[in-house]
Amino acid sequence: MTRPNVEVLTDLWTRMVRIRQFETRVTALSAANEIPGYAHTYAGEEAVACGVIPLLTSSDWITSTYRNHGHSIARGVSLASIASEIYGRADGVCRGKGGSMHAVDQSLRMIGGMGIVAGGLPIAAGAAFASAMQGRPDVAVAFFGDGAVHQGAWHEALDFAGMFKAPVIFVCENNLYAETTSVDYHLRTSSVAEMAVPYGIASATVDGMDVLAVRAVAAEAIDRARAGAGPFLLEAMTYRYGGQYEGDTQTYKPPAEVAYWRERDPIAAFREKLLAESIVDRSRLDLIDAQVQIEVDEAFEHAIAAAWPDPSELLTDVYTTYGVSGVA
């Protein structure tokens, strides 16, 4: 892959900052008890979503998880509609029916933010299969965590994709933890990438704190898939700064480990790179930072002022077509 140009690099930076600031706000609001329900933040992992998603066309498919804000923001979902969703408002990206755990936009071909670990993987494989079968160039990307590799659905999804050479990229966000459980305890292999072997699926492990490194491997994986060479398992080594969800006190993380990863912050590192290589100047980056700050402010101001769904929404959209007598 050729080196992305300045516009692309600036755009990647912007998306990462947008995610970070959005999540920082979610954390603050959660701590203040302002947000109903669960919120799983993506801070620390920005380079993964931003390394992969901007490479996709608007007709490629994505499955996400409960930890979806980063994916949605990287995909271009407006901060206001995510914020509204988190607050359960009528103009939320899911009309308030999904909340933080499901805040993805199906009209951007984000199929779901699955609350069930590994639940999205076979679905992504199927979407990819369907694209290929219909002669379309679309690929699918399934995001999931390191903990998901233990699920039967993971096995069956990789098996399906390997068998039918479905153009799907399985992106494992290996953030070293499944809830409180570290990968040292839960994995039997030294990487998730190795686990692809029995399925006949190509794989690679990449530094998930380096957006360009992720991008380079993802681009290859996507190109391969579009060219009919089949699925890919991309493991990105990353770290979640927040708890499993907001409110998790994270007593299970050794401070030295946290410090090590904070040291490798994907946004700070990328900023340094951009400055060191004189790609963008400091004032431009600061401006972006400030603009994003305003965007985030506005998004949440919008959300708390937004209307609640009409109670009649409770009963709509269970089915696309209802029974003859109107009864579900």
């Binding site: 498919w61 009309r95 199929i111 679905i123 494989a125 299969f129 069956e156 999804a157 209802y322 003859v324």
Partner: protein, 341 residues
């Protein structure tokens, strides 16, 4: 065109064939739904060896090829999940779970994904897929190949559930299920596969959500669930001799349920018996009984009676299995007791 006699198995096959002819998007997934996969060149005799264990899909491979008649590995979560994704991405998958009993291996995909992907995300997508599966006791197939489990699907908002008992309905409802924009569980009773009936040659749809009156009567309403419609009809026939006129309703679809048809019948007959070979607790039988006890109470002149299997797994031994499945005599006796007070 004229209707001909077809057995249910062939009626289903015809529905699949016509749906696939009419619409490129319809594809089939399942284990050995053709058979002999991977050997078409090396050993062509292997191709289409089975058409599924009951031969229901036999003959579709030669017509539509491996591209659309897709033998999967034994991984129901894999191919049911893939069907969901494929449905969203523009296909109309019809996936076969070989026996309804196996649903536990892919239940999450139906419960949390197929059923909810529309509602949770604000109505932006549909999941137009069909899961065909095989229900029912009486095949000497024991506890893990004989269950009905209708209620595991009917309980779940977002799924539709169809369970035909006649050849014309099997064809017409399957065509509607494939047309439908929502996930439909289409349940085929293994003991009805060889039952024949008039079936129109053309692809005539039978709408989901509409019960069918299979016998008119005045003294009692018997609702039969899938194969039990036939038991109900036999009972009704026998009751004629006793001067009891039984009306028999086949709901045909269990979600949506045609509550109006059942209530209307009970408003005339004043008595209700529900016959279901499923487990008795939290079943479609209790669902129908509860609905009438709430909405048709004023019309009732006696208790609602449920004739069901006992609260046990399905036993293998023929003598036990025969005692397990609701028998016509029992329905006759229950109706007699009920109507004669």
């Amino acid at each position: 065109m004229m209707p001909r006699q077809l057995v249910i198995k062939d009626a289903i096959n015809e529905a699949l064939r016509q749906a696939m002819e009419a619409d490129e998007r319809v594809i089939l997934f399942g284990e050995d739904i053709a058979g002999g996969a991977g050997r078409d060149v090396e050993y062509p005799q292997a191709s289409d060896a089975w058409g599924g264990p009951f031969g229901v899909t036999k003959g579709l491979l030669p017509l539509f090829g491996r591209r659309r008649v897709i033998d999967t590995v034994i991984a129901e979560t894999g191919f049911i999940g893939a069907s969901i994704g494929a449905a969203i991405a523009g296909l109309r998958p019809v996936a076969e779970i070989m026996y309804a009993d196996f649903i536990g291996t892919s239940y999450d995909q139906l419960l949390n994904h197929a059923a909810k992907l529309r509602y949770v995300y604000g109505g932006k997508t549909s999941v137009p897929m069909v899961v065909r599966t095989v229900t029912g006791a009486g095949f000497r197939a024991a506890a893990e190949h004989s269950q009905t489990l209708y209620s595991l699907y009917a309980h779940i908002p977002g799924l539709k559930v169809v369970a035909p008992a006649f050849a014309d309905d099997a064809k017409g409802l399957l065509l509607s299920a494939i047309d439908d924009e929502d996930p439909v569980i289409f349940m085929e009773h293994k003991r009805l596969y060889m039952l024949s009936g008039d079936v129109p040659e053309e692809p005539t749809r039978v709408p989901l959500g509409v019960a069918r009156l299979r016998r008119a009567g005045t003294d009692v309403t018997i609702v039969g669930v899938q194969k039990m419609v036939h038991t109900a009809l036999e009972a009704a026939q026998r009751l004629v001799d006793e001067g009891i006129s039984a009306e028999v309703i086949d709901p045909r679809t269990y979600s949506p349920l045609d509550t109006d048809a059942i209530l209307e019948s009970v408003s005339r007959t004043h008595f209700l018996v529900v016959v279901d070979e499923s487990y008795p607790r939290c079943s479609v039988a209790t669902d129908i009984a509860a609905m009438v006890s709430e909405r048709g109470f004023g019309d009732l002149r006696g208790p609602i009676r449920m004739v069901t299997a006992p609260h046990t797994p399905v036993p293998f031994s023929p003598v036990l299995e025969d005692a397990y499945i609701p028998q016509t005599e029992v329905v006759v006796r229950v109706v007699r007791e009920l109507v004669n007070g």
